[in-house]
Every structure is written in C-alpha cells, then in structure tokens.
C-alpha cells in the first residue's frame, strides 16, 4: 500500500498537481484529486475566470460543493464551487432555478471548478499536494452517506403542496403572458408585407397555408403518387406484360439467393443437427 501511495504521488501529468483526499480519518487508502489552473481564452468562460479558477479532476461522489469549498478555504477565500459532469464552460446561473423542476443530480466522479477571489489561492491549492491526505468528512463537518443520506433525501423528496402550487402558478402566469405577447405580435404582422414584399402565411389568418411539417410534405407526395398510379394502365401493353414476368422471376431469384445465404450461414453454425 505504501509503495502504491509513493508511486501515485510521484507520477503527475504535466501542469497538474495531485492532492490526496480521504473520506475520513479511518480510511486507509485515498483518491487523488488532480488540480490545475483553469486555462481559457480571456472572456470565453465568464463563469470561471482564468487565473483565479482551480480546475479539479476526479472528485469522489461523496464530495459535494460544500466539502470542496471547505477543503480549499484554507488557501484563500472561495467565491464559488461549480461541480459538473464533464469539463466545459460554465452555464450561466439561471435566476429562475426552480426548487421542484429540472433537477440535475450529480452522478459518480465529477470535475469541479473552484473560483477563488484571489489568483494567489490557486497556487496555494496546488501546493497542498505536499501535505498529507485531506479529509472530506470531519467531526465538525460530517458528510452523510449511506442510510442516513437516503433517509434525508427521502424526506426531501416529499414536497409541500402549497409551495409547489405557488411556483406552478407563477410560472404559468409568466408563460401565459409570453404566449399572449407572441400572439399579439403575430396578429400585428398578419398580412403585412415585409420590406421585400413577402407576406407571411400562417395557420391562423383567413387563408391558412399548409403546415410546414415533414409529415405534411410526405402526405402531399404520397397523394401525388397515388393520383399518378390511378391513371396508369396495368398490363395493357405487351412490354408491361413482359416487365411483370421478368420482375416475377427476378423476385424469385432474389428470394432464392437470400435463402441460400441464410442456409449457408446456418450450416456454418451447425444448425442442421437434429439431435
């Protein structure tokens, strides 16, 4: 075990530093967090500003944002911790984030972006690799896992009807307003040509156009085809007769060939041994 630890500490990919973390004191082996300074073009990732953001790889499942923030707080003031599934630009925090809808649960091992207030803290964090394993769950800040965690999340899954109702009502009011606005806008544009003189035809108006969907297009094509087929005379000319015969033989041959292949396949797999 000791040998393994030594090796793990020794080998680190370029640019990274390896921090050993343990769940609690009594664990004997540890995971390695790989950290490095977040590097991105200026302005490309506003949520994770370069220089003062620490990129953390291989965050264990029981290590949430709170634990991370606590772990790194000794290097400097932590402004925010963003844990996500795979590396990527941070999404803008939605103001309207709902308590009940669109929950994203974090699964398994994650990557994290720790944003410090000062760039110096990033270097300090990288220097932690020299120290012994960091502890995720301590006496003062225990992390719940197992049965107690599941009971807590069961409790959390039960919603308060009133709160839910209030949220739904608020959302729907917003939505209704938005739809009404759009409709009003569409009504204004109805029948009014744009600067090039085109008039937009919608399903509303007096002369509703065909809906622009794939299904509608297919339907029209199908109808055309049927119309053409109805006009055609079958087996009227001698060449048509001949064609159908040829077609029949060709079908038989095709079938025969397919069957032969199937048999060959089955023979190869020894499927003809009755017992």
């Amino acid at each position: 075990m000791a040998a393994a630890t030594g090796r793990a500490a020794g080998a680190v990919p370029a640019g990274y530093a390896a921090l050993a973390v343990k769940f609690a004191e009594r664990q004997r082996s540890h995971h390695c967090l790989l950290v490095k300074e977040h590097q991105v073009r200026e302005g490309a990732d506003t949520a994770h500003p370069p220089r003062r953001t620490l990129f953390v790889l291989n965050v264990p499942p029981y290590c949430g944002p709170d634990s991370l923030s606590r772990l790194f707080s000794r290097c400097g003031h932590v402004q925010s911790v963003d844990i996500c599934d795979k590396p990527g630009p941070g999404e803008k925090k939605d103001k309207l984030a709902s308590k009940f809808f669109d929950h994203k649960t974090l699964k398994g091992f994650q990557v994290a972006y720790v944003v410090f207030r000062k760039p110096a803290a990033v270097q300090a964090a990288k220097a932690l690799s020299q120290e012994g394993p960091l502890l995720i769950s301590t006496e003062s800040h225990p992390v719940k896992t197992g049965i107690s965690k599941w009971i807590t999340s069961y409790e959390a899954s039960i919603v308060d009807p009133k709160e839910l109702k209030a949220e739904v009502d608020a959302y729907m009011q917003d939505y209704d307003k938005k739809v009404a606005e759009e409709e009003a806008k569409a009504a204004l544009e109805e029948g009014v040509p744009d600067e090039e003189g085109w008039v937009k035809v919608t399903r509303k108006g007096r002369k509703p156009g065909l809906p622009r969907t794939e299904a509608a297009n297919l339907r029209v094509l199908e109808r055309e085809k049927q119309k053409r087929a109805r006009k055609e005379l079958l087996n009227f000319y001698a060449w048509q007769h001949r064609e159908t015969k040829r077609e029949h033989i060709a079908q038989l041959r095709k079938k025969f060939e397919e069957d032969k292949q199937r048999i060959a396949l089955m023979r190869a797999q020894r499927k003809f041994r009755p017992y």
Binding site: F100, F101, P161, K255, Q261
Partner: protein, 1118 residues
C-alpha cells in the same frame, strides 16, 4: 408463364449486357455449394434480369410445386445431408460386415442336447431369454447358419444417424428344428440358444468393441445380438443379429391369430390338461414367430417400392427424424422406422403417394394419413390378392389393438402397439399437420429440429406433470402386451389424458441375466391437462337414478356422494378440497393418489408427484397458503375501483379519458404481489402528514407503488411547450390529490411527477399523461423552417411509459384470462432470473413477452398448463432459441399476418448487425424491439443462455428422479465463485428479505401490519429500498469499471465483476479519470483504477447497509 415465348427470350438475351457470363457464374455456384463462404449479399441487376434457362425454370417450378418454399427445400436438403450415412463410413461398415460374415460361418457345430440341458454353454454366456417355466421338451444343437443376409434400412439407404443399425438375418438351418417347435416357446428358446452360442464365439474375437444382448424393440420374446466394432468406430454402427427360420419351416395356418401355440397346462405347470376347456388364442406369440419368417420378403417388398422413387428414401428419413424427435421410435410397441417404411409403401400402393413426390411431400402425406386414420378401428392390409384361406382384418382386430397387416397377409406389423400409443402418434401427426399449415411458425424448425423429450412420454412431453411409482409388480410378465389396469382407469377421467412412457429395456452384457419387468424401475407417466377442467374442484357424475351412476360410484369409491345441484337435479359427484389456485393445481395429484389406492392398491408413499415442486419459491409471506394469485386479484379489484373513482371525479378542469395500469401486478406477473399493509407509527420517525424511516430501526417493509397512467383529455388549453406541460401536469397531480381526498376520503401525497394514493392498504402512484407531450418533445425545426419530428431520449422514455407499457399490460392481462397459468409462469421465470442476479440486466417486460411467446406459439407442444412446465419451457426457449439468426415474433392479439411475419424475418436478416442481440417483435412493435434495446447485452445474453441450459438439465434430472434427496431449489441458488468482489449487506436494512429463496429463520419486525381497511392514516414510507438506492449510487460512480449484480428479492449480497477492458493501463485523458490514479509504467504516464480506494468507497457509500466488502480475486493488480 413458364412457356415464355422464345423470341422474347432471344430479344432479352440480346439486350442483357453479358448474360452468358452471368449464367456461367451461376452454374459454377450451383456446382459447388459447399464453397459457400462469404457470398455477395445481392445479385447484380444484370443477373436478376437475365433470361432464365429452361432448367432454372423447372427448378423454380419444382420448388413451388413440391415444397412449401425455396427455404424449406434448402433446409430439408441440409438436414438430409446431416442425417444420412456418409460414403466413407459406409465403406467401413461394409468391410466390418464382411468380416462378421466370415466369422459366423466358421462357428463350429455342437452335439445335440436336450433344450433344458444348457451345460454346453460356457459360464460367460447367459441365455437371453426368461425361461419360465424352465422344463420344456425338444432338442437343440448348433449348426452354422444356412444363410446370412443384410436386411432393413441399411440396404434401403434409409437409416438415419446418430444410431446406425445394420440388421442381419441369420437363417437357422432346418436341421436344428423338430416337429412341434412352434409350441410352448420351443422355437424362441432355440433361437435364444442359437444366439447365445454365436455370442459365446464372437465375444472371443478382437474385432468387436462390444458384444451385447438386447430385446428387439423391448419385446422380451425377441432377443437379438448387438455387435459393435472395435476402437473409435464403436459409436458408428451397431450390427444387430436376428436369428430366423427358413421361410417354409412352419405352416402359416398354425399361426393365425385365433390359434393357440402355448398350452395352458404346460405354462401353468399342471400335469394334465383340464378336460373340456378350449385353449385361448395366443396372437402375440404367433406373431412373434411369423415376424421372423417374413424378414426377407419384407426386404424385397420395400426395395421394390423404393425403386425409381428417390422421394421415398428422403421421406422415410424425414419421418424417422420426426419420430426420433418425439421419442416414438423406441421401446415396446414403438412406431419404428421399419413400420414407417411399410406405411409409406402402403400409401404408395393405395396411390396416395406417387413416385413423383419429393421427400417433403411424402412426409406430409404420411402425416396426413396418420392424422386421419385410426388403425385401431379400421386396420389396413398390404396383402394384395385376398386369399380366402387367410384371416381377414376382423380376425386381427379381435386379437390386436392396432392392425396393419403385412404383404403376406399373416403378420400384424403393429402387434405390440397399444391403441393408446397409436393415438399418441396420431395426436402428434395431427398437431404436426396444423403446424405445417400455420404460416406463423417455422414448420421445419418445430417439426424436425425440436426435440420433444423429457423422457417421459412423447405426446405431451413438457406439458405434462410427472409422477412415478413402483409399478413393476403390476405388469404381467407373461403377456407381452399387458396394459396396466390403472392406465385404462385414468383414461376414463375425461380431462386428463395420459401417456405412458415407453418401456425400454436396456442392453445387457452377454454374461448377465436378461432383465425382467421388475428391472425397468419406477414407471413414469405424463399427464396432459385440459386447462378448463383440470383445476375444477367438482366432478359431476350422472344423475342418481341413471344406470351409469353405479359405474361412477365404483370408479370413484367412497369419494362419490350424492349432491343436489342448483338446477334441481340430484347427481353423483366428487368434490376435492382446494381453496387457493395453488391447491387447485394439485387436484390431479389428489385424484391420482386416490384412484391408484382404490383400484391398484398402491400406497401413497410409493407415488411421487413432481408437478408442482417449484412453486414454493413464489409463495408469498409466511403462511403456506397460496402462491399469490389471490393477492393479485385483490390488487386488480382495488385498481378497478380506483379507476372508476377517477373517471367520475367531479370539478376536474379536464376529463380523464383513460386510466391504464402499468405495474406488473396489474398484468398478473409481479413476482411477489403487494399485500395490503398499514404502518405502525411507533416504528417510524413522524412528520406532520407522513412517516419517515428511522435510522435506529431496521428498514421498513418495502411498499411498492402501483403505477397507473391517467390520460387527460386533449384540449386547446394545454400549453405547447415542454416546460409548461410539466408544470400543468404537476398542477394536475396536486388537484387529483385534493379531489380524491375531498370526494373519496383517500389519503394522498402529491409530488411533481406523480400522486401517491393510499387505498385498501395498497399505494397507487397516479401519473398524469397528455397524449401530445411526446410529440412536442420530438419537435425540431430545420434551418429551412420545416417542422420535423425526431426521437429523443426523453420522448422515447415517455412514449414507452405512457403508450407502449399500458398497451402491453392490457394485452398480457387479456392473455392471463385465456391461460390462467401465464402469470405464475412469468413469475417463476422472473424469480429465476432475479435469483441468478440478472434481474437488472434484462427488462421485466422482455421476460413477460418471452413467457407470452410460450403460450401464444407453443408448437410443437400445447400451451403449458402448470407454472412449472411453463418455467421448464421458458428455460428451454432461452437456451435453444437461435437469437443470432431469428427474431422472436410474439403475435399478441394475433395482430400479425403470416406475410408480415415472413417480411419481418427477411428484413431482420438484412439488418441484423444494427439490431439488439435479443430481438422481440410484437404487432405494435415490429421494427425496434423496444423492450430489449439496451438490455440484455451480448455477454449477459450469453450468460443467460448458459445458465438456462444448465438449470434446465439439472431440473429435468431432479424431476425425473424425485426420490433422490437433491433440493429442487438448487437452480435458484446462484454460483458466486466467479465474481471479483462480494459486498455483504446488513440483513436488517434489506426491506425485501422475506422474499429470498431460502427464507431467513429469524424474522425482523418491518413496521407494518396486514390491514386493508385503514382509512385515515399518516402516509406510509413508499418505494424506499436502501439496497436499490445503494446500487444506483454504485452504478453511477463505477459504471465504467465494474458490473454490479444483485437479487432484488431479498438478496444479501451484491456481486461485483470488474470490467477487464477498463483495467488495462491507459494514457492520461481528462475525460477518463474517474476513480483512477496516475502512475508510471515503463516510463510512461498511465491511468489505472484506484482499486484500494474504490473498495473503501463501496463501504463509504453504503454506510449502515454494508456489512463487509470481500475482495475475492486479485485481478486488478497489474
């Protein structure tokens, strides 16, 4: 059509780019079909439209006329290639025969002795004949055979592998017989002595691998000598020596069926014949001698029939395969291959078969004849010109049960066959004809490639329950065709049909005594239930004043009692004790035990009924009572009531258009159906309106939410945006909860995605659905502004849940109404899969469909009529179905026509590589196999197939030998030795512990009591299973490193298998660093899984649940 004008053909030939070249290629192919390596997938256009040659036209026409389809023709050709004897082997056999010939003629003569004086035989040989009574007149001496001739299938070329028998008729010279040798077994004993002398000499030869005796078709009057070559050819051939007299030795008239040739006085060992009594006829005895005299003439007859008739050889070979697969061609009174050849010859004589026909047509015509003709009523005869002196068919009918007279007009070829056995053959033929006419099933596969074994009996094989008892003493040793009385008795009961397993005597070495009837061992009977009556508790007899009443009373004994029925009639009736479905299934056992005790005086202890041994694994709760059918019915009742209430709910802004259940309990296939429960408050942590699991107490009992989809009416008021629809649905859930509480006083707990309703002790989970939602989820607008619908993961899941699963549930609910044991079969199957730790690797719906297949397409069997038989068939299906080459088509509600099924098959072949490894097609889901798309994976399927075939083998062994002390639950205990890590769980935190295969001795309180009437309670803990939550977390975290296996029904261990691929050192990559560590290997940076830490993570994640983590292998050390 086929006489296509030659000018046209010429014209086309000119047009075609290079017709001759195409033709050459084609001919080349046909000449060498063996070199059928990777052929081009498609014919080129030029080849397809090339003018046909006349020989090609005839071939196409032949295929159409003589065979069902070109595929069938090819399949049959392949099968025949497989079963017929190869030329190389034939040469070896011929050489072997020559050597035997020279050896036989060199056997020395012996001096004449009395028949009873057998001292001249050496110690090493026992006479292969039961010499009872021993004393008999007559003298015997050995003289080398007058003639040796190969007879039977070897010469006709109709012998089929794997058991190649060559029959040699050894003609005993005239000199060794005296007058009156036809009497009192003297002929038979001489025959036996003759063979023993031959055996004595041949056993010294090094040429033979083995020299053994056997009874010809298990008829103990007819011993034969079996010779096998030495060395590795031993399995190739068995040469059977039949001793026979010269054809003119006996006067045929002595052996007419009405004549006596065994004197009573001699047989009963009385000194003087009784005066005035007439001797009874001995038709079977007579027939056995006659058979020997006509062997050569039969050969001539058959070879005449087979000349210029290639189809006969093929047809007989196919028929033999057909019989072998049904195990009808072995044992006493079997339908042997010889009999089949004679039958084909008969049909040829009657012009029902013509020499033009193909092998397939011969098979078909013969089956048709068997299916429609009852030889036990109207016998047939091959004798051409009616000699007035010969016995007529009626004479034969009086003496034998089944009549088929040979060309000589003397021998009944079906002498040993009983009527019931013939009916068994007939039943099989009838069923096979139905299968051949049914386009839905692959007739070739079902008829000729599928064995119908279970050793028990042929007709119903696995459909039947098995019980065996020691009946050896019942069989009369003297009469060769004695039918046990009990068989007739059982046949009187209308709803059980019964098949006796053929008595098969094994071969025995020449120095052992011939086997007696006692040596056959326990008898095994198969029972075929008529599902409508098999489980009825009442047997209504005739009215009390009718004369049949007496017969009824004597048949049923004390069980029969007078009863007054609702229509006022007073009838004899028998009532059986049974309250639950499980007990009702055991009524046949009660009947059998009662009747055997009553009529045959067989004690109950010597009868063993193995029809329902497995049902204990799906028994619910602690009580021994039922197997959950009743619980399921009560769930469905409660659900029906709830759906009515939902329909009639007032003040709902939109109407409820449909209420559909999707939980397996609502299609009767839940392994352990929910039981009405009421929580004990003190056991839980309490909140204002609901209960919570408590950390200090054991985990509360698992309460399954029964999921119900509640479709709301479509309306313009529904928003057309997916976020808004979700909110509206949540609002509906809130409102449903509120209304159900107000109008029906039900306790409800709403949530965002559903509303849980506590009713009658069950918890139903209502989920609102809007039919346009999947469509809205699919909407995509192309850059040109066109609206397209594209499947997304979300829409697929929603459709599955709200559209397909309800449909499947209602279809299977309907199937259960037709086949009452469907549900229990499916439950047994699921229990087995779960016990093998694979329940998370294959979807429940997939198992349900597989079981539905057994009931909808049982060919060549009948639909299973007991869960155990259904389960055995399920294992058989899993183990033998050719998943690689065929889709499994489950024709629910007969929604697919034959053409569609064929089309489905062809398309399947074309796109095999893109389809799931296990492909299930149903009428509503022909192209995507939605229930098997992700699971099972190829490896899991392979494992399933392996486990199924092993389990099947073990189970069949145990069921056939019920007296052995092996536990039938064995197949429900999985082998754990090949997993890498075992995570042992704390039993008190496993909520479903009671469902485990081996129930825990000590039970823990789970905080619930049985109660279905509780109304106003705090909401219980629903759908809380720590083990499942734990598994979820494990899979989320370590999915790319390991597979986790668990028996969700109370398993105490989670088995972990490392994925070998992810343990190979890989170069560092940001995206694949989960749970790994970086290390140097050969001066390169590589990532390997951090196993020590992961093993500790197992414990951390399952804190309180995990007892210990046991790493069993060191596979990860690199």
């Amino acid at each position: 059509f086929y006489l296509q004008g030659s000018p046209e053909a010429a014209e086309e030939a000119e047009q075609g780019p290079e017709p001759s070249a195409g033709g050459a290629v084609r001919r080349g192919k046909r000449a060498a079909p063996a070199a059928a390596a990777p052929q081009p997938a498609k014919l080129s256009r030029a080849e397809l439209y090339r003018p046909p040659t006349s020989e090609e036209l005839t071939q196409l026409k032949e295929t159409e006329d003589l065979f069902h389809s070109s595929l069938l023709r090819l399949q049959i050709e392949e099968l025949l290639k497989e079963v017929t004897l190869k030329e190389k082997k034939k040469k070896k056999i011929d050489a072997f025969l020559h050597e035997i010939n020279s050896l036989l003629s060199a056997i020395p003569e012996t001096p004449e002795t009395e028949l009873t004086d057998q001292a001249w035989l050496s110690e090493g040989v026992k006479v292969p004949f039961l010499q009872v009574p021993f004393s008999v007149k007559g003298r015997f001496r050995f003289v080398p055979p007058a003639e040796l001739k190969v007879v039977g299938s070897y010469l006709l070329g109709t012998c089929v592998r794997p058991e190649i028998n060559v029959d040699i008729a050894v003609t005993m010279p005239r000199e060794i017989f005296q007058d009156k040798d036809n009497l009192n077994q003297r002929y038979h004993r001489k025959r036996a002595l003759y063979l023993s002398h031959i055996a004595q000499h041949l056993s010294k030869e090094k040429l033979f691998g083995s020299v053994k005796f056997a009874y010809m078709n298990s008829n103990h009057l007819k011993p034969i000598l079996l010779l096998r070559p030495q060395g590795k050819d031993e399995k190739v051939v068995t040469v059977r020596l039949h001793a026979c007299p010269t054809s003119d030795l006996f006067k045929p008239s002595r052996f007419y069926p009405s004549k006596n040739n065994v004197r009573t006085a001699w047989f009963m060992e009385q000194s003087t014949p009784k005066e005035g009594t007439t001797e009874p006829p001995t038709p079977h005895y007579n027939n056995s001698i006659l058979c020997d005299t006509v062997m050569l003439s039969h050969l001539h007859f058959l070879s005449n029939a087979a000349t210029d008739f290639p189809g006969m050889k093929d047809g007989v070979a196919l028929l033999k395969v057909w019989l072998n697969q049904r195990q009808l061609s072995k044992g006493l009174g079997c339908f042997s291959g010889f009999l089949v050849s004679m039958l084909v010859a008969y049909l040829l004589m009657k012009r029902k078969i013509v020499k033009m026909m193909s092998g397939y047509q011969v098979l078909r015509s013969t089956l048709q004849f068997l299916a429609t003709t009852d030889l036990s009523v109207t016998g047939i005869s091959l004798a051409k010109d009616a000699d007035p002196s010969l016995p007529v068919l009626d004479d034969f009918h009086q003496a034998f049960e089944v009549v088929f007279v040979d060309p000589s007009g003397l021998v009944n070829l079906c002498a040993d066959m009983t009527a019931s056995k013939y009916h068994q053959v007939q039943l099989e033929a009838k069923r096979s004809m139905e299968i051949l006419d049914d386009r839905m099933v692959d007739g070739f596969q079902v008829l000729l490639m599928t064995p119908k074994p279970i050793g028990a009996e042929a007709a119903c094989s696995k459909t039947s329950e098995l019980f065996s008892c020691n009946w050896g003493d019942l069989l009369d040793e003297t009469c060769s065709s004695s039918t046990p009385i009990s068989q007739q008795l059982l046949l009187q009961k209308p709803h059980l049909s019964l098949c006796l397993m053929f008595l098969i005597f094994p071969q025995w070495p020449i120095d052992a005594d011939p086997p007696k009837h006692k040596d056959v061992g326990p008898l095994t009977f198969g029972l075929l239930f008529v599902p409508e009556f098999a489980a009825s508790t009442l047997e209504k007899g005739p009215q009390a004043d009718h004369p049949e009443a007496l017969e009824f009373r004597t048949f049923w004994g004390e069980k029969s009692e007078l009863r007054r029925f609702q229509d006022g009639s007073i009838c004899e009736a028998v009532v059986w004790e049974a309250s639950t479905a499980c007990q009702k299934r055991l009524i046949p056992e009660q009947i059998i035990r009662h009747l055997l005790k009553l009529h045959a005086d067989i004690p109950e202890s010597s009868i063993c009924y193995t029809g329902a041994l497995l049902e204990s694994v799906i028994r619910t709760g602690k009580e021994a009572g039922g197997t959950g059918e009743e619980a399921m019915v009560s769930v469905v009742c409660s659900y029906d009531d709830l759906s009515r209430k939902l329909w009639n709910l007032k003040e709902l802004p939109l109407m409820v258009t449909a209420v559909q259940g999707v939980h397996p309990a609502l299609r009767y296939t839940d392994v352990f159906p929910p039981i009405p429960m009421k929580p004990i408050y003190s056991f839980h942590k309490r909140s204002k309106h609901f209960l919570l699991p408590s950390e200090e107490k054991p985990c509360p009992a698992y309460i399954t939410p029964l999921k119900i989809i509640c479709h709301m009416e479509g309306s313009g008021q529904w928003p057309q945006d997916k976020g808004a629809i979700k909110r509206i649905k949540a609002a509906f859930h809130l409102q449903l909860a509120e209304l159900l509480r107000q109008q029906h006083q039900l306790v409800c707990r709403p949530a965002v995605t559903h509303t849980d309703v506590y009713k009658d002790g069950y918890v139903f989970r209502l989920q609102v659905a809007y039919h346009r939602e999947p469509l809205i989820l699919k909407e995509v607008v192309t850059p040109e502004g066109m609206l397209k619908y594209q499947d997304t993961e979300e829409s697929r899941l929603l459709e599955l849940e709200t559209l397909h699963l309800p449909y499947l549930t209602s279809s299977l609910h309907g199937l259960q109404q037709q086949h009452p044991v469907f549900g229990s079969t499916s439950r047994l199957a699921k229990r087995w899969i779960s016990a093998q730790l694979l329940s998370d690797s294959i979807s429940e719906e997939c198992v349900d469909l597989l079981v539905a297949f057994l009931f909808l397409h049982p060919a060549p069997f009948t639909p299973p009529s007991s869960p155990q038989v259904g389960f055995l068939r399920f294992l058989n299906l899993l183990a033998t179905f050719d998943w690689k080459n065929n889709p499994l088509i489950v024709n629910l509600n007969t929604g697919l026509t034959g053409e569609q099924a064929v089309g489905r098959r062809n398309k399947f072949v074309a796109s095999r590589s893109r389809l799931p490894v296990m492909f299930l097609a149903t009428p509503k889901d022909q192209w995507s196999s939605m229930w098997t798309q992700e699971r099972p994976s190829a490896q899991i399927l392979q494992r399933l197939v392996l486990l199924a075939s092993e389990s099947l083998r073990a189970l069949e062994e145990q069921l056939m030998d019920p007296l052995s002390d092996q536990d039938v639950k064995m197949v429900f205990r999985p082998p754990l030795d090949f997993y890498d890590v075992l995570i042992h769980l704390n039993p008190s935190q496993i909520p479903r512990l009671l469902e485990s295969v081996d129930r825990p001795v000590k039970s823990v309180s789970r905080g619930v009591v049985k109660n279905s009437s509780a109304m106003n309670i705090l909401f219980p803990v629903v759908d809380y299973d720590p083990v499942q939550l734990y598994l979820q977390e494990l899979r989320n975290a370590f999915d790319d490193l390991a597979l986790f296996f668990y028996d969700k029904h109370g398993g105490e261990v989670i088995a972990v298998l490392w994925k070998p691929l992810s343990f190979q050192p890989q170069p560092f990559k940001v995206s694949s660093m989960r749970g790994k560590k970086v290390t140097t290997l050969n001066n390169e940076l590589v990532c390997i899984p951090n196993v020590e830490a992961i093993l500790e993570d197992f414990e951390i994640l399952g804190e309180g649940l995990v007892k210990s983590v046991e790493a069993r292998t060191e596979k990860w050390t690199i």
